[in-house]
Symmetry: C5
Subunit: 320 residues, 5 copies
Amino acid sequence: MSVTLHVVDGSGTYSKREGLEHAPASIASGSKLWIDAVDDDAALAPFLEHELHLHPLLIEDLLEDRPAPKVEDYGTALYVVAHGVVMKDDEICAVEVDIVLTAQWILTHRHGPAAAVESLASELARKPQPLQRGPAFIAHAILDRLVDSYLPIVDAWDDQIDQIEVAVVEKATPEIVQRIFKLKRALQSLRRGAVHQRELLSRLSRGEFPLVSGDALPFYRDVYDHFLRVTDLSDSYREILSGALDIYLSTVSNRMNEVMKTLTLVATILLPMTFVAGVWGMNFDFMPELHWRYGYPVAWIIMLGIGGGMVAWFKTRRWL
Amino acid sequence: MSVTLHVVDGSGTYSKREGLEHAPASIASGSKLWIDAVDDDAALAPFLEHELHLHPLLIEDLLEDRPAPKVEDYGTALYVVAHGVVMKDDEICAVEVDIVLTAQWILTHRHGPAAAVESLASELARKPQPLQRGPAFIAHAILDRLVDSYLPIVDAWDDQIDQIEVAVVEKATPEIVQRIFKLKRALQSLRRGAVHQRELLSRLSRGEFPLVSGDALPFYRDVYDHFLRVTDLSDSYREILSGALDIYLSTVSNRMNEVMKTLTLVATILLPMTFVAGVWGMNFDFMPELHWRYGYPVAWIIMLGIGGGMVAWFKTRRWL
Amino acid sequence: MSVTLHVVDGSGTYSKREGLEHAPASIASGSKLWIDAVDDDAALAPFLEHELHLHPLLIEDLLEDRPAPKVEDYGTALYVVAHGVVMKDDEICAVEVDIVLTAQWILTHRHGPAAAVESLASELARKPQPLQRGPAFIAHAILDRLVDSYLPIVDAWDDQIDQIEVAVVEKATPEIVQRIFKLKRALQSLRRGAVHQRELLSRLSRGEFPLVSGDALPFYRDVYDHFLRVTDLSDSYREILSGALDIYLSTVSNRMNEVMKTLTLVATILLPMTFVAGVWGMNFDFMPELHWRYGYPVAWIIMLGIGGGMVAWFKTRRWL
Amino acid sequence: MSVTLHVVDGSGTYSKREGLEHAPASIASGSKLWIDAVDDDAALAPFLEHELHLHPLLIEDLLEDRPAPKVEDYGTALYVVAHGVVMKDDEICAVEVDIVLTAQWILTHRHGPAAAVESLASELARKPQPLQRGPAFIAHAILDRLVDSYLPIVDAWDDQIDQIEVAVVEKATPEIVQRIFKLKRALQSLRRGAVHQRELLSRLSRGEFPLVSGDALPFYRDVYDHFLRVTDLSDSYREILSGALDIYLSTVSNRMNEVMKTLTLVATILLPMTFVAGVWGMNFDFMPELHWRYGYPVAWIIMLGIGGGMVAWFKTRRWL
Amino acid sequence: MSVTLHVVDGSGTYSKREGLEHAPASIASGSKLWIDAVDDDAALAPFLEHELHLHPLLIEDLLEDRPAPKVEDYGTALYVVAHGVVMKDDEICAVEVDIVLTAQWILTHRHGPAAAVESLASELARKPQPLQRGPAFIAHAILDRLVDSYLPIVDAWDDQIDQIEVAVVEKATPEIVQRIFKLKRALQSLRRGAVHQRELLSRLSRGEFPLVSGDALPFYRDVYDHFLRVTDLSDSYREILSGALDIYLSTVSNRMNEVMKTLTLVATILLPMTFVAGVWGMNFDFMPELHWRYGYPVAWIIMLGIGGGMVAWFKTRRWL
């Protein structure tokens, strides 16, 4: 485990320290503080309980790996679970960040690396304004970076979907269906996460929680807008994929119809002709037409007549 | 970039000037003002920030190209993003107009031409009443023109859908399915935009925002009604297209059934007859019937009897 | 255009006059008044604006042909757009009636004949109570007659649907599918109108509008009940039609299966037999079995044996 | 028509009388009263209007046969339309009971017999407590008995659905589909009624109506629970039937696939073999292989080789 | 029946006794009390009525086996019906626990064993804190253990679903469809129960009921979160199963298409060749080509030419 403290003291000066043990002094001095903890540690739970006085259930939730994004108001502390996403081996993985927000300090906790948090931490050294403005602005900065992790994935899909739309009309192979199904499922999984966070940000940006003050609300509404855009895009992608699937199915069914018509046509023309040829291949002693001078040419005429009649009948039914 | 100012001074006189630099004086003089800005410019952002004192997030949103229509209340300013539509190469494109509304002035911003705004600007010289009545009436005039841009597209679809409905019953070719799918998708894309704006206008016309005063509300409700009509029509078109698709599928499946029945009929009648002909084509030495006087006619009777029996059996099953 | 005035003066006496020009005097005298205007006229718009002092948007809406039923509160006037239905050439057409309701008078406007309004007008001469009780009761009487225009159509469908349900099980021809699709679409179109009016009457009967007084509310609730019944019936008809379509599809697919099984059966039995007959029709010099005494009967036994074996194998697969 | 009066006087004594004419005296004496009226009568309407002072619309509704269950508050009277169900010739029929409830008396009206009301009436002679506690408890007792009429039908379906589930896997005949469709429709019709009544009882049990006092609420909530159970069961039955239908369709489609594969297999193996046999059945003068010593056995080897090759090719495609 | 009493007296000491008869004394002494009753008994009902003074309907509900989870507020007592689940012979069975909660005591009642209750009872001897904190914490502990009974089942499904997803792409046998349908139904049944309880816990954790005090609310919210997770997982499993079914259907339909194409190909190539062979197998006297020197090789060339032409034509249609 590693714990990094970002401190802005009463005079507005930013400093950074490693290790949980420096936190109590910073809090006591009234400094604004961001505690960024990675992974678990024997020391973390007692610190959360005895120094930060967090609710036992909040601590339990924080240390566990929990799925759904949510926001919970514990009075003096606001507990937010938010997710970013990364692509790992063609699979979408959620990156969970737990945030505890009070008027003076903010605690973030995560299992493993989270680009959103790390980029903010390194930026803070240059530009400590968010922490100077207060913990709610640090929370906003993290949420904003989390939603940004959705955008490259959504943009990559945009290209894929365009390809699929073209391919489905031109080739309609089973491989395209596999791709559609795979993309559809990834979409569902991403959308589920984004919808939960959209609801979460809708509540945060409505002014429902006093810890997110009025001047921070437009910033949260901005993040909400981004999540709204992600879910809107997911919805429209899903519709396009459904449409592409319908086109595929209709193309396949048309081709099947053509194949069946060809089979029917060939069989219907040739079976009668073959039968007639079979008849004159019989070995009866008394088959007078076999001995006629023009028997053979007449046989050809009859056979071709049957075939031609069949074709003509097909034309009347508009199958040709 | 170009910026046009439409000013109505205290005595109600309308005048028009080009260039951002004239705006501060007009505002200071208490005149009613419409600032119409096209595209971005280095001068615009500082002007928005230092002269108009807009919120940094509002400025950021305004200058970006953002997708979804929305309304946001920033206290002294109301920020509205609205869309019109134009057809470009058979594709529906959204034309975004950003509107910032205060009690004294209104700012519109857009990337490129927007017929709705331009037609209002040229009309204002002849008829400055909307600006005399206040910025909310300028906003209404723009929204009203934006919704009007939907109507010719919707009307053109009406004809296309009528054609499809007739065609699907008469011909049922795969091309019609392609047209249905294409129209369905354009419908979805247009509907999505219209639904967002309907919600936006529902909020504007409910009297939720003090900047849209009571005497302007019926006008906003009127625009809401127009968007309601657009979404209603989209919904009913979608239902009709779904119905047309069902009819197509049912027609295709009926034809397939006929084809299959024909194949079955022909094969079932001729295979037994061909077999019998094959039997008497065998070269066994001792096949007494081959030497009978009436063997050959009897063979015909037997073969036609089999064929006739098959047809009769089909009739009992009602396949003919 | 024609305008009819129905007046009940202070002493409760009913009288009827033709022509817009008598309206101002009646209003000034404090009489209760119903102005029934058909089609447009140059005189109507100024009258609405200067005598009745209606809002410009209300006048615009009233004179246009507008689709969706709605209710709008303009303070001293309540504006209601309601629809009845008539059957014209097997198509359902909406009959629009616009109603403007104030405490003293009621104005109805329509394009062309509307049975609901006309029957009330002729009844009023015999029974002027609705007008004596006030404009809200005239509005109720019209709405009540409009909903009654739905019932004969719904009842006629009841019979058609019963026929379809029987036919789909017995015959399952493509014609029935066409009828189902047609009825389904008519149902959708009627339902859409009825749902809008149900919502409209739900609002009118909730006491939301002061112009519809408490003693009129139960009457509006009664009309609401009728519309509820119309939409309920439409919903249950739609379910029945969907069920009928499912039965049709399942019947067709069963029949297709039978056809395919027959084809497979016949081909599978006869192809091997025909092959065997073909073998002994070959002209090799040394085919000893051709010269056996019982070669031919044995050939028949073999061929029938193959056929019988195929049938037996089919029976084990339960295809026969 | 028959009218029965159940009276509990001031001293709590229960008595029963036939005929409408005794009602006014009972009401005047302050007794608690249940008036149970069957069918219509010339005397009923005037009685409702002049003695009970009911609203004209309530009277109209009460005497008509109206479909949907509902509750309406007329101030001093509460009007409830509720339904029980009976099975008649395999069809589900609704049994309507209209209830008018005031603080002192309760009126029930029905067209024809209704087991729920009759069983209560006969029980009241032995156990008059419900009437002693007040009209709301009589209404509860009737509603409770009405919901009980749903249970035997729902239970009978439970068995049928179990049978269908087993049958669909084992046999998958078209008859089962007919049964599924029939049951599904009966389910829809029963569910619709039950849902309306669940809503009705939800409102009655919420304490929305002062005529249903606080101590009666738990009893109404209990009836609500029963209706909730009926609709829950209907929903889960519907899901099971949909699942059974899906299994049926999948079974049928699997069988069709097998049939098609068999056909393809047989034709693909035998058509080439038959062609080869046909070749050596030709009558050309110069066909040297016909005169070879081992021509015939070699022909068999070739033909069987072709057949075997086809089978082997099928195996590589996993069709066998 | 067995009844166990868990008592925490005024000094906070925990003790445990068997038998209903000790309950009244404990209640009178003001001790905190958990009465855990299994199965019914003649003594239970009178005790509930006369000692605990429960509402008759509550007692009736408690003793019956009732399906749906719910919460009911009887003023001084809160009645909760909750469910756990166990797997019995591959079937999901609900385990019902009825809970009556007052400020001083809590009563649980169940038919047969319930692991959730028993594990709490045995833990209480070691760790009596929940009872010391009050009845609401005992209720929480039971609900928490009930939701935990869902997790192993859901986890087991996770594996099964992964297997199905792999299998459906690789083999696509009808057996997989049976497994999908079975799992889907088990999912529906589990989900229904979980949704009801999620709603129940949503109400309990909202602070709607005074008997669940503020400091207990976060604990109930935690249980709510667990149920939310169960229903979320069920939903995502259902989507995955639906997706797997779609892939199966698409795979089957692709294979069917291949089979049909093979059949068509073989028949279309060989039928014409067989016909030609049949022609030269006819026995007409005057067929000059039969006597040509190179008649036979030319016949082969013609027949192979027809076959090759068919293959070439197929290639142009992209069927090969």
